[in-house]
Symmetry: C2
Subunit: 189 residues, 2 copies
């Protein structure tokens, strides 16, 4: 979130404005960090609400702030089909692996345990599958023999901070098309 | 096969000698190409044989020529557990994707259809799973918006020709260990 904020401040994501940071946890550190940067924040707790009620509150806030593109970061729940349909091709997620390898959780440890020599990160459109929507952009990183989950996660995170602004810039530019499940530059299919 | 042969001739794979090229098709072009390089070849047809009988003939030939390491290339059958156990950690295969993404056939088209931005190739030890054994080495290549199956396959093949000699050199050196399913340099685990 901070990497996106910084990239937008530095003009790396043309025509982007970070209008709202939402968390489902009021104690999320990201909210404090965003407030320090004078970004509007909102905590919408889940406690005592059904998923539908909670999502309705989030959607209402996103509409109020006229949010065009939603960038998930560490959002640990699947969004409902209704939520996704409300923002078609406008919800992005970042995942710390080269999808389709290693969806889900504990991703870096899975990559190490599997013995891959390259991993990376993926920004994809969110659909109703787990980490399965069309891929906008990916970056690769080597997996080293002496990597731990922590050292690999750190190396991937550096690339995530570069990848998410790049992917967001493409999506905001509108200069892409989705062919099947391929995201390609407009006119290239 | 020719790339391995050339790499061995150029001294890129220390202590390697290409002693035998085997195909299960007597009309395989690789046999002719190997003969032109004065490499010993053998066609062991499957016709009229059970898998066990066919494999027994192949194993007998490998033993006769004192083959230490077997490099599969485009061998379209699963080897039986008995075959694999006969050459523990000494059978390699090369696969034109970044495993565990896209095992099996039609790999480049699958990668394009899935919309990945990076693919590559993998050399792995052969076990009794499809393209599932411990990974020895991988190389990455970008997938471009205007790639076809043919252009992507060609870009990956260039890297396969570099990867297979590298991986074989590591295996022949013996300077590795297998920890779980990770192949790491000896002493690095």
């Amino acid at each position: 979130m901070l990497a996106l904020s910084d990239a937008i401040s530095r003009g790396i994501v043309p025509n982007a404005e970070l209008v709202l940071v939402v968390s489902d946890r009021s104690d999320a550190r990201g909210l404090t960090l965003a407030q320090e940067k004078n970004i509007q924040t909102l905590a919408i707790d889940r406690a005592g609400k059904t998923r539908e009620e909670h999502e309705a509150e989030v959607i209402s806030a996103l509409r109020k702030y006229e949010v065009d593109v939603i960038c998930l970061a560490g959002y640990m729940r699947l969004l409902s089909p209704g939520f996704i349909e409300g923002f078609p091709r406008r919800i992005l997620n970042i995942h710390p692996s080269l999808l389709p390898s290693f969806p889900g959780l504990d991703v870096q440890q899975k990559a190490i345990n599997h013995g891959v020599k390259w991993s990376g990160c993926t920004v994809h459109f969110v659909d109703d599958t787990l980490d399965g929507g069309p891929i906008v952009a990916q970056r690769v990183v080597p997996v080293l023999d002496d990597d731990t989950e922590a050292t690999l996660a750190e190396r991937i995170l550096e690339q995530e901070h570069l990848l998410y602004p790049e992917a967001l810039a493409l999506v905001i530019s509108g200069k892409f098309e989705i062919v099947g499940r391929r995201v390609v530059a407009a006119g290239k299919s």
